[in-house]
């Protein structure tokens, strides 16, 4: 099995997400298993105005990259190949935005 990071970019702020979206998030592990994959880890991020960026030791208030879609969460999935990984990633509930699937370089990092 290979591992992939799924970055969730969302225009809608976390506090404004409708309850059915949150519910679908909770169902993700089950749906992934149905497709023969597994959700290894997942994390939801606080809004970007809470973040602090560091460049060469200099602090800035705010996200590293200013984008319309905000990185709202990251999860790591396990899948046999890219097709399975993409099928799982497509189930990610997003109101307005999308996801990016990136293969992990070495899944024994952690």
């Amino acid at each position: 099995m290979a591992q992939y990071a799924v970055f969730l970019y969302e225009r809608v702020a976390p506090e404004d997400l409708p309850p059915e979206i949150m519910q679908r998030h909770e169902q993700m592990p089950e749906r992934a298993a149905e497709l023969g994959g597994r959700i290894v880890a997942g994390m939801a991020l606080q809004p970007p105005d809470t973040s602090t960026s560091i460049r060469k030791g200099e602090l800035t208030d705010g996200p590293f990259l200013e984008t319309k879609e905000v990185l709202g969460g990251v999860f790591v999935i396990e899948a046999r190949d890219l097709d399975t990984a993409l099928a799982i990633a497509k189930l990610t509930p997003v109101v307005e935005g999308g996801v990016e699937v990136v293969p992990l370089l070495d899944f024994q990092v952690l």
């Binding site: 290979a2 992939y4 046999r80 190949d81 890219l82 990984a85 993409l86 070495d106």
Partner: protein, 384 residues
């Protein structure tokens, strides 16, 4: 052979190396022991063994390549199996996670063994850019684990269009090899036809039938595209009695069945146009109004400037060169396309605007280094 080896390695670079090693091994062993009964199978077996050894040496075996073997290594390839392997390689190279340009480049390079320089030429970019594109695509296939499988039935139609496009471009690259003296690269065109047949076998009818029929029509006329001196001939000058009636009939049957079944895809419409040309008793007796109608339908499903250019040629036959030149001059974004300039030149010549025609031929000449095409254009440029 490359395809069979990739199935073992799941790593294209490694497979390519292993295949090269196998050839080197053959050069060493065959003069001594004689050529084996099945040279292809011998080479494939050696390449696979080389690849497996190389992988066993690599420490990354269990992290990077855990899905190495889908079947036993001893499962020796028969004809069908080799075909299936090639098909898997096509679908890997045409995976939607790869950019279309990368799909095209990879299939030409890996499935068909076209040199990187020729692949670059086919897409009007530099060799260095193409080499970088291919390297990046191969890295992505390995790192992201783009699967080496024929898609599931529910994914097939979507995946098929990319594969058909690639096979068609593969055929046209062989049909009019852009650089050098070989106008027709038999191997490229033959492989494209094989792949089209295989795809049609997998998903009969519709667009797969359309592509196969289109290639059959091109193939039927291929021998008459040049004269005895290798000079390019226009369709109006070609010897129609030499066209391959058997292939044209096969194409026609495919087209009629697919159209009856409701197919209106771009490959099928192109095939229908090509078949009308192939079945016309003479250039003048070609059913131009119906061809123009088919081009209109084609433009609706596939609004491309190249289609619009071909439509203009049909328009010239139905409404005259004046209407056609207006249509050609309205096209945008195709200045680097050599057929735009040769078509313009021809239309201008027919309108008696010879000075402008000569300029257009000159522009077309600057865009090709195929010897047969150059000769053709130089002759046209000279005042007749």
């Amino acid at each position: 052979m490359l395809a069979a080896t990739v199935r073992v390695t799941r790593d294209l670079d490694l497979a390519e190396e292993a295949v090269q090693d196998a050839f080197v091994e053959a050069l060493r062993v065959w003069p001594h022991d004689g050529v084996p009964d099945k040279p292809g199978a011998w080479l494939t077996t050696v390449a696979k063994r080389r690849a497996l050894n190389a992988m066993a040496r690599a420490k990354t075996l269990d992290t990077k390549l855990p899905l190495l073997l889908e079947r036993d290594e001893d499962d020796l390839p028969d004809e069908d199996f080799i075909g299936d392997d090639r098909l898997r390689l096509v679908f890997t190279c045409c995976h939607p996670a790869l950019a279309r340009e990368a799909q095209l480049a990879l299939t030409l390079r890996l499935v068909c063994g076209v040199a990187t320089a020729d692949v670059a030429h086919a897409f009007l970019i530099s060799e260095a850019t193409m080499a970088a594109r291919i390297t990046r695509a191969k890295k992505k296939i390995a790192a992201a684990r783009i699967p080496y499988v024929v898609p599931e039935p529910h994914e097939l139609p979507e995946r098929l269009d990319a594969a058909l496009t690639v096979i068609y471009l593969l055929y046209t690259t062989g049909h009019t090899a852009p650089a050098g003296d070989d106008l027709v690269r038999d191997e490229l065109t033959a492989r494209a036809l094989d792949l089209a047949r295989m795809l049609h076998g997998l998903l009969p009818g519709g667009e797969a039938a359309g592509l196969l029929a289109l290639l059959l029509c091109h193939e039927a006329r291929r021998g008459t595209r040049t004269d005895a001196h290798g000079r390019l001939l226009r369709m109006s000058e070609q010897n129609r009695t030499a066209w391959d009636r058997e292939r044209i009939a096969e194409a026609d049957a495919l087209i009629v069945a697919a159209l009856r079944a409701g197919g209106r895809g771009r490959f099928l419409l192109q095939a229908a146009i090509a078949a009308l040309h192939a079945q016309a008793p003479s250039y003048e007796q070609t059913d131009w109004p119906q061809i123009l109608e088919l081009y209109d339908a084609l433009l609706r499903v596939w609004p491309s400037p190249v289609v619009a250019l071909n439509r203009a040629v049909a328009l010239a036959e139905v409404e005259g060169p004046q209407a056609a030149i207006a249509a050609v001059d309205a096209l945008e974004g195709v200045d680097g396309y050599r057929y735009l300039h040769s078509t313009r030149a021809d239309l201008l010549h027919r309108l008696g605007r010879d000075g402008e025609a000569a300029d257009a031929y000159q522009r077309a000449l600057q865009l090709t280094d195929n010897v047969a095409e150059r000769t053709f254009l130089e002759e046209r440029r000279a005042p007749r």
